[in-house]
């Protein structure tokens, strides 16, 4: 018979922060208790198999009203890939103007996820 164990996960899908108890059988999640919504169940299952996160950081921008552009991954990436994504983005440079939602990098670190701009960044006009 498969071995049964319980793992505790705190859901970060929303501000409620539900404490979810996930029952594992043979290394696979079979039951989750304590979540106040379906998102919590999905999150807890994902969290145990392979945690994912949205990565937010900045890239240098030239000619803009600020020296940095805030960016984020369009969707979540595996948590174990965060470091690799940061290294890939360290090579990235952009030119102002930038529009919010503009794609800054395709397929960051081979995750298949795009990195997009979080804000408009207008060009710095002279005389400002």
């Amino acid at each position: 018979m498969a071995k049964t164990e319980t793992k505790a996960v705190i859901c970060v899908a929303c501000p409620l922060g539900c404490h979810v108890q996930v029952t594992m059988e043979g290394g696979r999640p079979v039951k989750a208790l304590g979540a106040q919504c379906r998102k919590g169940l999905e999150y807890a299952t994902q969290e145990i198999q392979d945690p994912v996160r949205v990565l937010a950081t900045t890239v240098p921008v030239t000619g803009g009203i600020l020296p940095l552009l805030p960016v984020r991954t369009e969707g979540p990436v595996p948590r174990r890939m965060l470091r690799a994504c940061m290294l890939a983005l360290a090579q990235c440079r952009v030119q102002a103007p930038v529009r919010a939602g503009q794609v800054i990098l395709e397929n960051v670190a081979g995750t298949g996820v795009r990195v997009i701009a979080s804000r408009d960044l207008p060009r710095l006009s002279s005389g400002l």
Binding site: P15, R53, T58
Partner: protein
């Protein structure tokens, strides 16, 4: 001196000011002016580049700049006048001899020089400041390398400067936790987050995503007792504390670091309020308001972190929408308070309640917001007029970092009041509504 006339003037272009200005216009105020001291709108959201915003209000997860962008677009579309790079020096409330029946905002900027904005109603949304080292009195030298967490956030996320390489963070508020992750991602080593209280100060999800994900130790019931280094921080001595938060002799340990970040609380930015003679609440540190977010100066409204420090921007937006809408109504002379207000007071396990008064009870539904003193599981949060129950809600867990809300229905308020008067013959002057937390199973 240039003078402009508006219906509603809003001070502060962060999340609260943006929502208040937009809603005031939506609610029919013809001329709305938004005044911001920075070079752009968005306030603190522009440096909060992490996701987690908007889950309640927009039903999707946004970063700070994205959340700001949506409201900036609304401001633009609504045709609201925006004064950037403009500092408000003084607010003279309506009724003052020089300006009655309007308020006057004395401002300064490079285009207009000194500018006087005359407004029928004003919404204050100046936000808050970070508590500093001076405010918490850590002994030791005065070297470079000590920053508040929010300042470090601005340096890293907007100005491209790294404050240090080896970091200790004092205080486990949300900004401190967020910065622990941010510094780690940028290649710094966060040696520890040190928290004087027996529980973390920030939201659960930030503990998970910011500390656990990166194996950053959280030392509860510890504090920094000394800062070392003359030119630059070379390390800190931390120690365990007892029940009275006093350091325990013999528990000291040295942590080598070049940077100390402080995430030890936020204080509403109330200088302009004090100048205007607005009543300040001793616990929240912000103005005392009624359900319309109207201050003790009837023509002046307040919202956002100026009013009380929020944990979610979504709640700031909701609150600011109330202030903006009611300021618009006030500017048309449509707000009518009852002769006697109901005072909202904290009861068992409640630290403070906002709003502090309900001025037109029995007319509209009122959502009250409060913070608890201690964490409790499986409870009822209740509102009581005398012994009469006005509202009750079951809650799985309440904890200090998370604001709790409770809805008061107008009929329930009126009925409870009527029963109270019938039973006790209570006078209208005893109108006090207690908000408290009850363990489940006790009535």
């Amino acid at each position: 001196m240039e003078t402009v006339q508006v219906d509603v003037a809003v001070v502060g272009g962060g999340p609260a000011g943006l929502a208040a200005a937009w809603k005031a216009r939506e609610a029919g105020a013809e001329r709305v002016m938004l005044v911001e001291r920075d070079f752009e709108l968005g306030g603190i959201l522009q440096q909060c580049i992490h996701p987690g915003f908007g889950l309640r209000y927009f039903k999707e997860e946004l970063t700070g700049p994205e959340y700001a962008e949506r409201f900036i677009a609304r401001i633009r579309e609504a045709g609201i006048e925006v004064k950037l790079n403009t500092m408000v020096l003084e607010i003279i409330p309506s009724g003052a001899p020089s300006v009655a029946p309007e308020c006057a905002l004395m401002c300064v900027n490079r285009q207009d020089g000194v500018l006087s904005i005359r407004a029928k109603a004003v919404v204050l949304a100046m936000g808050c400041r970070e508590r500093t080292r001076g405010a918490i009195a850590i002994p030791g030298e005065r070297p470079a390398g000590i920053y508040t967490a929010g300042t470090a956030q601005r340096l890293i996320n907007m100005e491209g400067l790294m404050p240090g390489r080896q970091v200790v963070i004092l205080g486990s508020g949300d900004i401190g936790l967020i910065m622990a992750r941010r510094l780690t991602l940028e290649g710094a080593e966060v040696k520890a987050v040190v928290e004087i209280m027996p529980r973390p100060g920030g939201l659960e999800r930030n503990l998970v995503q910011c500390l656990h994900d990166f194996d950053i130790p959280l030392l509860l019931r510890h504090t920094v007792v000394e800062v070392h280094g003359r030119q630059r921080v070379e390390g800190v001595t931390i120690a365990a504390v007892d029940e009275n938060s006093k350091p325990v002799a013999g528990t000291e340990q040295f942590i080598a670091c070049d940077t100390l970040l402080l995430s030890v609380g936020l204080i509403p930015e109330v200088e302009l309020c004090r100048g205007a003679g607005i009543e300040i609440h001793p616990v929240t540190g912000g103005p005392v308001v009624n359900e319309w977010r109207q201050t003790s100066m009837p023509s002046i409204f307040a919202c956002g972190n100026l009013l009380h420090v929020h944990d979610l921007v979504d709640n700031v937006t909701r609150e600011a929408e109330i202030a903006g809408r009611e300021a618009a109504r006030y500017s048309r002379g449509e707000l009518r308070a009852k002769p006697e207000a109901i005072a909202m007071v904290p009861g068992r396990n409640v630290r403070y309640v906002v709003p502090q008064f309900i001025s037109a009870w029995g007319e509209e539904e009122v959502q009250v917001y409060f913070r608890v003193v201690e964490t409790e599981e499986d409870v009822y949060v209740v509102a009581k007029l005398g012994e009469q129950l006005v509202a009750r809600k079951r809650q799985m867990r309440v904890q200090p970092p998370e604001m709790v809300s409770l809805r008061l229905r107008p009929q329930a308020m009126v009925e409870s009041l009527r029963k109270l008067v019938e039973l006790k013959g209570i006078s209208a002057k005893d109108l006090v509504c207690r908000i408290e937390v009850e363990p489940h199973g006790q009535n």
